[in-house]
């Protein structure tokens, strides 16, 4: 499954980059969202995969019973997801403002200040 997951990660990155390089502003944002997914999955794959055993300590026990999933990548991803949500939310609204100002979703039009 690690190999499959690695392939999924690769595909997600590829899709993200492809979307970001298009001229459409909306596609770019979707690409950014995909990029976030890909990164999260990458981190998730950094701990050894364990099926169905969350890192919880049962009532009465002092330590979890192995094997259990690596908790640290999970915590990192949680942080990353939340940060990603903030970034994406802002980016979406920014895209809308840009669109309202410029009146097109063509990114190539966004170069009036760089001439």
């Amino acid at each position: 499954m690690e190999i499959l997951l690695a392939i999924i990660i690769g595909v997600l990155y590829a899709a993200a980059i492809y979307m970001m390089m298009s001229r459409s502003i909306v596609k770019l944002i979707i690409g950014l969202a995909l990029l976030g997914h890909a990164s999260n999955l990458l981190i998730f794959n950094m701990g050894p995969l364990v099926r169905g055993r969350p890192p919880l300590i049962h009532e009465g026990a002092e330590v979890p019973i192995p094997p259990f999933a690596d908790p640290l990548p999970q915590a990192l991803i949680l942080t990353a997801i939340v940060i990603g949500l903030g970034a994406i939310a802002f980016a979406i609204v920014l895209v809308r403002s840009v669109y309202q100002q410029v009146g097109t979703d063509d990114i190539d039009e966004l170069r009036t200040t760089e001439r």
Binding site: L34, N45, I57, L78, I81
Partner: protein
């Protein structure tokens, strides 16, 4: 040198008071001149190479500000910039050279370096250091092919020209060469470098000065020529040559300072500096006339002025080298230079002061004031006096001998005098004066022709033209490159970044020869394979989507599938979060997206093909990275600590939550801040728009 700087500086101060009378900017002028004077004194007095360089650059900057003093004139600004760039570039070369020199000699103190000649000249760093230092000195002292900035610098007010661009700043390069002569001199490289450059500069400067019409340009070119002579003499580097150089330094400072101030006085009183339009000034400006005549005679080397003694010594020096070829060549160079200078001094004095006024000429408004004629007169008289009493102890022992000793590096005794008997030098002096007079006579007849030739050649082959074209070319290249790299297309910036990533990371990955087989691999079950297929399908759907909704739906499917993966592999917290965040994201997309237009495929097929290739490369690289990382066993000490202590010490059963709120609580604190800022950002963006609409409405209302 100190004497020259302060002495002439004082005169310039008095003089400038008259020259810039009534100009509101005179305060500014004095400040800048004072800064320059301090810097120049610093150059001369510093014992540390570094300190010397600091002051050296300061002189360049103050020179820049002074040349551009009349800053509303395009010409002034251009000249100022040119001078700064030429001397500034030289300064940077000098900096590198000095660092190399200090490394080779093991010290930054000039006084220490003076004893390190052998160590320095045999060091492998010697040649680069020498070349770089020479570049610095040559640019500053306006040596060929960098001489062109000096005549252009005449756009500065005349006091500045007199002070910086003849007496002091331009001598800094010569001073530096003289100072470092005991360390760097005595080698073939030194000799050829200085003699060739100095020789060309001397002759070229003399030649160019002779047919100019602008008084100040005449003087500027003759300054160039004099600087060439100085460099030439230092290149010869024998005892006599050094003596000659020191004497000539003094001579030149005296007469050139006087000439400039006189020219300024003329300019100030008549409004022109064109010798063709001046005549018969002797009567209107008698004191200036006396001063300028004395100075010119000194420049021409007519006895009994100091210039004559200088000239004699120069000839003596050029006759010194061992081989006859060099004797001949150097003497010829000196002779030619001096002939031109004689002619130039004729041009300066005879026509403007003694010629008959005609309808073309300009009359002075009123006689020059005291402050304007005092300087030239004093300096002229000084040339005369020092010449007459040249064998006195004052001149020889106190002024020149220590200087020459310091440069030569050994003690020497200096004897000067007007009369040495019938020597080859006297003969040469005679030839010089005679030929000079002849050349001056030719001046009137040849001027037209010379100017025509020059006008044809200079724009194409002159060093200034080359400089201009070189610099323009550089700027054009820079512009081309900038527009190419920074073209305003976000996609191109992305392409640069993604391309660099693939190249750098990919190369490193391949270089490293990391094994790309995970150390463990769970056999995927049917539901896992199905999930994989769903994600891949959704990714395809996103990439291929023609409508926004399909793309967003695909994105959502990927997000929810990820939540499923998280559930499958023991991450319920993650799954819950992913699920709710994905929902929120999709809502946001839908809320916002229905206002945006539908996709239109605008990319051409080749572009899309390129994007596909790049994306696939990135994807392959990332897969490779993940597999490689999975193949490397990692230590588990950190995560072990969490599971062992989560309950015992941190009192929580859910290890992930304990990490979030306790072990790595700081991360969460910042994370929630990020989220808050994003919310503020959304609010700000939306309200920005509202504000703008309100102002637009108000404006419309106020218009109607």
């Amino acid at each position: 040198m100190v004497l020259i700087i302060s002495g002439i500086g004082t005169l310039i101060f008095i003089y400038a008071g008259g020259y810039l009378q009534g100009d509101p900017r005179i305060g500014r002028f004095y400040v800048m001149i004072l800064i320059f004077m301090a810097a120049m004194l610093g150059v001369v007095l510093a014992d540390s190479l570094l300190l010397l360089f600091v002051f050296w650059e300061l002189t360049s900057i103050s020179s820049f500000l002074l040349i551009g003093f009349n800053h509303e004139s395009e010409q002034s600004r251009r000249s100022a910039q040119q001078a700064l760039l030429v001397t500034g570039s030289g300064g940077l070369a000098l900096l590198a050279g000095l660092i190399l020199l200090a490394t080779a000699g093991g010290s930054w103190q000039i006084s220490v370096l003076l004893h390190q000649q052998t160590a320095v000249t045999t060091s492998p760093l010697y040649l680069p250091a020498l070349i770089l230092i020479l570049l610095g000195a040559f640019t500053k002292s306006a040596q060929f092919p960098f001489h062109f900035w000096l005549p252009n610098a005449m756009a500065a007010p005349t006091p500045v020209s007199a002070y910086l661009h003849s007496a002091t700043m331009v001598k800094a390069g010569v001073y530096l060469l003289a100072r470092l002569h005991p360390v760097l001199g005595g080698t073939g490289e030194w000799f050829y470098g200085l003699v060739i450059v100095g020789g060309i500069t001397a002759v070229l400067g003399g030649y160019l000065s002779w047919w100019q019409t602008d008084l100040k340009r005449i003087m500027a070119y003759s300054t160039v020529s004099a600087l060439g002579v100085l460099v030439l003499l230092l290149g010869i580097g024998t005892k006599i040559a050094v003596e000659a150089a020191m004497l000539f330094l003094l001579v030149h400072s005296l007469y050139k300072g006087g000439l400039f101030m006189a020219a300024g006085a003329i300019d100030h009183e008549t409004g022109t500096r064109n010798v063709r339009r001046l005549a018969g000034l002797a009567r209107q400006m008698p004191f200036v006339f006396v001063g300028i005549t004395l100075a010119s005679l000194s420049m021409a080397g007519i006895p009994p002025l100091l210039g004559f003694i200088g000239k004699e010594l120069i000839y003596e020096a050029t006759l010194e080298p061992e081989t006859a070829v060099w004797q001949l060549l150097l003497t010829a160079l000196a002779l030619l230079t001096n002939i031109f200078l004689v002619a130039a001094s004729g041009v300066i004095v005879i026509k403007p002061f003694l010629g008959q006024p005609n309808e073309d000429t300009v009359q002075p408004h009123h006689p020059a004031g005291l402050s304007l004629w005092l300087g030239p007169l004093l300096l002229g008289l000084l040339s005369l006096g020092l010449g007459l009493f040249s064998n006195s102890t004052l001149v020889a022992k106190w002024l020149l001998q220590p200087a020459a000793t310091a440069v030569y590096g050994h003690d020497l005794v200096l004897k000067l005098g007007l009369w040495h008997g019938l020597t080859p030098m006297l003969l040469l002096s005679g030839v010089t004066i005679a030929a000079g007079a002849g050349v001056w006579w030719l001046h009137e007849r040849w001027r037209q022709g010379v100017m025509a030739v020059d006008a044809a050649l200079a724009p194409r082959l002159g060093p200034e033209a080359l400089y201009d074209r070189g610099f323009d070319g550089l700027l054009r290249l820079a512009d081309w490159l900038t527009v190419r790299v920074q073209d305003g297309f976000l996609r191109h910036y992305l392409l640069w970044i993604v391309g660099t990533t693939v190249v750098l990371v990919g190369t490193a990955l391949l270089r490293g020869k990391t094994a790309v087989m995970p150390s463990q691999d769970l056999i995927p079950g049917p539901n896992e394979i199905l999930l994989t297929l769903v994600i891949l399908g959704a990714a395809w759907m996103v990439v291929q989507a023609d409508s926004r909704l399909a793309a967003v739906a695909g994105l959502g499917v990927i997000g929810y599938s990820m939540a499923l993966i998280f559930i499958l592999y023991g991450a319920p917290d993650l799954a819950m979060t992913q699920f709710s965040v994905e929902t929120l994201t999709v809502i946001l997309f839908v809320l916002v997206l229905y206002k945006l237009p539908t996709f239109e495929t605008k990319d051409s097929t080749p572009t899309r093909l390129r994007n596909v290739v790049v994306s696939l490369l990135v994807g392959a690289m990332m897969t490779g990275l993940v597999l490689a990382a999975n193949a490397i066993p990692a230590s588990t000490h950190v995560t072990d600590f969490y599971s062992e202590n989560s309950y015992v010490l941190a009192k929580g059963h859910n290890i992930v939550n304990v990490i979030l709120v306790d072990f790595r609580g700081l991360d969460t604190m910042v994370e929630i801040t990020v989220l808050s800022v994003a919310a503020v950002g959304v609010y700000a963006l939306i309200h920005t728009r509202k504000q703008q609409q309100e102002t637009a409405v108000e404006e419309r209302r106020s218009e109607s």
